[in-house]
Symmetry: C2
């Protein structure tokens, strides 16, 4: 309970960052990716795996760099080529990291790659949405993630009876999960009604999808932490977890909103997305 109120307090300044958007939001995403990938690698270290932190950090910096110059490339294809080379470079660097053959194991490279893609690339979709043709929908990333989390919690406490997936997260209930989805739909719907009228129906749909996928994001983080034998990813506010504990759902809702814009709203067919 106390955690949730405190989390909410951390999230308030975030609203300002989302409102400002553009380069401010990009830098915020960079910081979250940077800290998040460090936390994720630390979790792997608890398993005896040794990912290369520098590759993770530099991958966050490089991705932010491509995003920073959005709009100043000769064309969109060139920008996408830079993203392509990013994927190649992350994998290549992680493989070359194994050349100190006596100190490394294949899992070290695999964990390095996984952290860069799961934490840095996934969270970067916040920037992609902000740079898309429907930047206002960036709010849905956070509204669906936090709406689900908060409503799932209160519904679960109030009427939760049937366990959702006791092996992954023993306290979660089916009732809470449904409440979370409803919370996301309501919050995203209200947002659409008041601030993005032309997307109102889409906001409801994204709210529903976000309610499901943000719980998958939350559970994915729970699985990793359980397997790594850690309670929280980090210790940003002592006793209340790290960056990844706060943003585990956002890692999943951000790509969902982005690909919804591209493939459902159909902006992918034309410049600029």
């Amino acid at each position: 309970m106390k955690t949730r109120i405190l989390s909410a307090c951390i999230m308030l300044p975030l609203l300002a960052l989302v409102f400002l958007g553009g380069k401010v939001l990009l830098v915020a995403c960079f910081v979250i990716g940077l800290m998040g990938v460090g936390e994720f690698y630390r979790g792997f270290e608890a398993l005896g795996v040794k990912p290369c932190r520098w590759i993770g950090y530099l991958s966050a910096l490089a991705l932010a760099g491509v995003g920073l110059f959005h709009g100043s490339y000769p064309d969109r294809v060139m920008e996408y080529q830079l993203y392509f080379v990013w994927f190649f470079a992350v994998v290549l660097a992680s493989l070359l990291y194994l050349f100190s053959i006596e100190k490394r194991q294949p899992a070290d490279a695999a964990a390095t790659i996984t952290g860069a893609f799961y934490v840095v690339f996934f969270s970067y979709h916040v920037v992609l949405v902000d740079q898309s043709a429907a930047p206002v929908l960036v709010w849905l990333i956070f509204l669906s993630a936090f709406g689900t989390d908060i409503m799932a919690y209160f519904t679960g406490v109030a009427i939760g009876k049937h366990k959702l997936c006791p092996k992954i997260s023993p306290k979660k209930t089916i009732e809470g999960s449904i409440g979370g989805i409803l919370g996301s739909v309501i919050l995203c719907g209200l947002f659409g009604w008041f601030f993005a009228e032309e997307y109102f129906v889409h906001c409801l749909v994204v709210g529903g999808l976000g309610g499901v996928i943000s719980q998958l994001g939350d559970l994915t983080a729970s699985i990793f932490k359980r397997k790594m034998g850690i309670k929280d990813y980090g210790n940003l506010i002592p006793g209340h977890g790290g960056i990844l504990d706060r943003f585990d759902s956002v890692l999943f809702t951000a790509p969902m909103v982005y690909y919804y814009i591209v493939f459902v709203l159909g902006f992918g067919a034309g410049y600029p997305v």
Copy 2:
């Protein structure tokens, strides 16, 4: 020695596939990616890691699918969005694979992701080069890889004295390595001279880069095999290794040639690349 002559015999039909290009080459790359990722995952299984084969196979199919319809999308940005969603879906599917929490470990997801990117995505750059504005340079991918391999072998046998990296690959020598680079430069140069005159100087440069990077590709495969405790990735021709043993260098030279075309030849700035 016998292996190398036999390998050469396997490579001869490949020449026809490269010559035909287009959809024929795409299907050949798909088959190599499919078989290669299966072999790579089998190597991880020798370490007790259980990657999800289906994700690897489907990722190869999906990537080939995007390539198959190249040119029929409304525009290039839409095509790149499909590649983007491929990157996202591979990682997401590998994470969701962990939801059978009692049977899976984080390394299973990490290995799944690594195989899809290292084998499927890297080898797919053959198709990207073939679909670029300089498709004739697709030959350099194979000429540099096999030129390096063959010349490094003969130079090493003839005058090899100083070990290159005994811990990774005990038989390789510095003399052989230099011979390999020269072999790649000569072969790529000859190709440029006779078949791609307008790119002659670029062929020499790509030959030199390819001579280095194809050896890194070879050594990367050696590291994995050594760590996995296997001699060869597969057993395609009994006693002479699998697909990945034959194409380990190509996995590295293909992206190199592609990004050379995009960023050095500068075709990335304009449609169509």
